[in-house]
Symmetry: C2
Subunit: 325 residues, 2 copies
C-alpha cells in the first residue's frame, strides 16, 4: 500500500502539495498536478479514509438509530441513504432491538467520532439522555419530540389522524377503534388528541376498551380482530378502526377476511403511511410523505454540520381511499 509520503518523495514535491492535488486546491500549477497524478496512478494510490477522517475531524458517516428495520421504515431508510450518499455521506445502521444499552452504543459512537450525526427513528432511551449527547453532534429525530436540542422531521400527527377520522365518520361509522403505536411517543398523543376532539365534535360512542397502544405489527392487528370477534354483541364491537401503520391494518384486514368479517361493511379499516402494502391489499391509508421526511432529516443535519443543505420542504398528509372504507 502506497501512501501520500511516497507519492511526495517520488514526485519530488512535498506532502502538502500532494495533499493539495488530492483536495483539488487551485494553488497547484498544472504541470505539478499532472506529474503527481501520474505517479498516483502508477502506484495505484488512494488516500486512506481513516487518516482523512482523523485529521479532518469528520467521518462523513451518519448513524441511523432504530429498534429494527420494518416495512414502514423502508422508504425512510432508502430515501435517507440515497440522499446522504448524494452529499458524500454514508449511513450506518444501529438497531437496538429495544435494548437501551445497545442503543446507547450508537450515541457513544458519535462521542467517539465514528459518526458525525445521528438520526433517531425510534428511541428507547430516556429522551433527556439522548439530548445530553447533542453536544457531541447534531441529532434529528423522526419522531416528534419536545426536547429543544433535538430537531424533528415528524409531521403533526393530529392533522393526519383527523383526516382519517373525518373520513370514516363521513362514511357513517361511529364506533371507532384506535390502534395506536408507541404509548409514550408524541405521535401517539397527537393522535389521541385528534380522536378526543373528533369524538367530542361528532358525539361518538365511547369505546375506551377499543383504544390500544403499543400496536405495531401484523400479528397484533390479527389479535385485535380476534378480540373484537370474541365480543358476541356486534353493537359492542367497533365498526371502524384506525391503525398505527399499514402493517397493523394489513393484519386486521387479512384476519377479518379469514374470519368472514366483512370489510368495510362491518369494519372499516384505515391504515397509515400508504406503503406499497396498503396499495397491494387495497387498504385505505393516510399518505405520510416518509421519503420526504427522510430528505428533510438529512438536510437538517447537513445544515447543522455546516454544509449547504437544501431548505426544508413543507409536507402534508392526504388520504388515499381504497376498498377498506
Amino acid at each position: 500500500m502506497s501512501n501520500l509520503e511516497q507519492i511526495a518523495k517520488l514526485s519530488g514535491f512535498s506532502k502538502a502539495t500532494v495533499s493539495r492535488v488530492l483536495n483539488q486546491s487551485r494553488h497547484v500549477s498544472q504541470p505539478t498536478r499532472d506529474k503527481i497524478l501520474a505517479i498516483m496512478e502508477e502506484l495505484d494510490y488512494v488516500p486512506n479514509g481513516n487518516a482523512i477522517s482523523l485529521s479532518k475531524g469528520q467521518t462523513l458517516q451518519i448513524g441511523l438509530v432504530t429498534e429494527g428495520i420494518n416495512e414502514v421504515m423502508l422508504p425512510f431508510l432508502n430515501s435517507f441513504v440515497e440522499t446522504a450518499s448524494q452529499y458524500g455521506y454514508q449511513t450506518i445502521i444501529y438497531t437496538s432491538s429495544g435494548d437501551p444499552k445497545k442503543e446507547l452504543q450508537a450515541f457513544e459512537d458519535m462521542r467517539r467520532k465514528r459518526v458525525d450525526a445521528l438520526v433517531i427513528s425510534t428511541c428507547v432511551n430516556d429522551l433527556a439522555l439522548l439530548g445530553s449527547y447533542s453536544k457531541y453532534g447534531p441529532i434529528v429525530s423522526w419522531q416528534r419530540m419536545e426536547n429543544p436540542q433535538i430537531a424533528s422531521v415528524a409531521m403533526n400527527q393530529y392533522d393526519g389522524y383527523t383526516l382519517g377520522l373525518e373520513h370514516v365518520i363521513g362514511r357513517g361509522h361511529t364506533r371507532i377503534a384506535n390502534a395506536y403505536g408507541r404509548p409514550s411517543s408524541i405521535n401517539t398523543s397527537g393522535r389521541m388528541k385528534a380522536y378526543e376532539d373528533a369524538a367530542r365534535r361528532h358525539r361518538l360512542a365511547e369505546l375506551p376498551q377499543w383504544s390500544r397502544t403499543g400496536i405495531h405489527s401484523i400479528r397484533q392487528g390479527e389479535e385485535l380482530v380476534k378480540e373484537m370477534l370474541a365480543v358476541k354483541d356486534p353493537l359492542q364491537r367497533p365498526d371502524a378502526v384506525l391503525c398505527a401503520n399499514d402493517l397493523v391494518a394489513a393484519g386486521i384486514v387479512s384476519e377479518a377476511r379469514r374470519q368472514q368479517l366483512r370489510v368495510p361493511e362491518n369494519l372499516a379499516v384505515v391504515g397509515f403511511d400508504n406503503t406499497e402494502l396498503a396499495h397491494t391489499l387495497g387498504i385505505t391509508s393516510i399518505y405520510n410523505p416518509i421519503a420526504d421526511q427522510a430528505k428533510n432529516a438529512f438536510h437538517l443535519l447537513l445544515g447543522k454540520l455546516g454544509g449547504a443543505g437544501e431548505p426544508q420542504q413543507k409536507l402534508q398528509y392526504f388520504l388515499v381511499e381504497r376498498a377498506t372504507t
Copy 2:
C-alpha cells in the same frame, strides 16, 4: 475534548500505559489502572474512534451493498446488522439504485479502508471487477456466484425451486408459469434448470411465453396477471405460477382477486422466501432461511478477517403450504 496524551500527563504515566488500560492489557498494575481510570472519568474521556481505526488498520465496519432495500431483504439486513453488532461490527448501507458507478463507491470505500469487508446482496457491476477488489478485503455475496474469490451464502436454488414445482405438479397443475428474477443471476439459472428438469420428468406442457425474467416487484406481479387474462382461451393461460419472491406473489394474488380469477382453482401461486407478507396474505411460499444466511455471511467474513466466527450452519429449504395452492 480530552485526549490520551492529557490523561498520560495528568496521571504521570506514559501514553503506552494509558493505552494498555484502554485495551485491557494485563500488563498494568492495579493501582496504576485505578488511577488512570479515575482520571479518565474525571475528564470525561473517550478514545477517538478514528485514531483507533487509523492505527489499528481496521474500522470494524462492514459495507452492505444492494440496489435498494426491499421487503425481501429485510430479514437479511436485520439479521446481518444484529449479528455484526454482537461482534462489535457496524453495518454501512450502500445502495446503488442500479447504477454501477454508485456501487463502485462501495468497493472503493473498502480500498480506502473505510470498511473492512463487504457483503454483496445485488451486484450491478461486472463480477470480475468485483472480484478484483477482493485483494482489498473479504467479500461475501448473498447471490450464488462462481467467482472463486467471492464466497457465497446463497443456497442452491435448484432444490428450493424443485420443491415448489413438485408441490404444484402434485396438485395436478400442468401449465406452469415462471416469474424469475434477475436474468443474469445464478439463482435464476438454477431455477430455470429446475424447471426444465421437472418439465421433462413430468412431461409438462410447453409454455415458453410464460417464463419471464426480471420480475421482482408487486407491480410486475400485477402486470403478469393482466397479461394472463388478456389471453382469451383459458387453456392457453398458465394454471400455476412460481414467483421470484413473495412480493411478486403478493402482486399476483391481489390482482387475481380483483380480476375474479380464482386462486388456487384457476391459478395456483407459490411465493419464495416465506416472508411475513406471505403469511399475511396466506400465500404458499418456499421458506428460505434468509436470516440464517445473513448470519453465515457475517461469520464467513469474520473468519476471513481473522476473527473467531462460528462455523457455517447447514441450511435448507422447506415449503410452507397456505391458501394459494
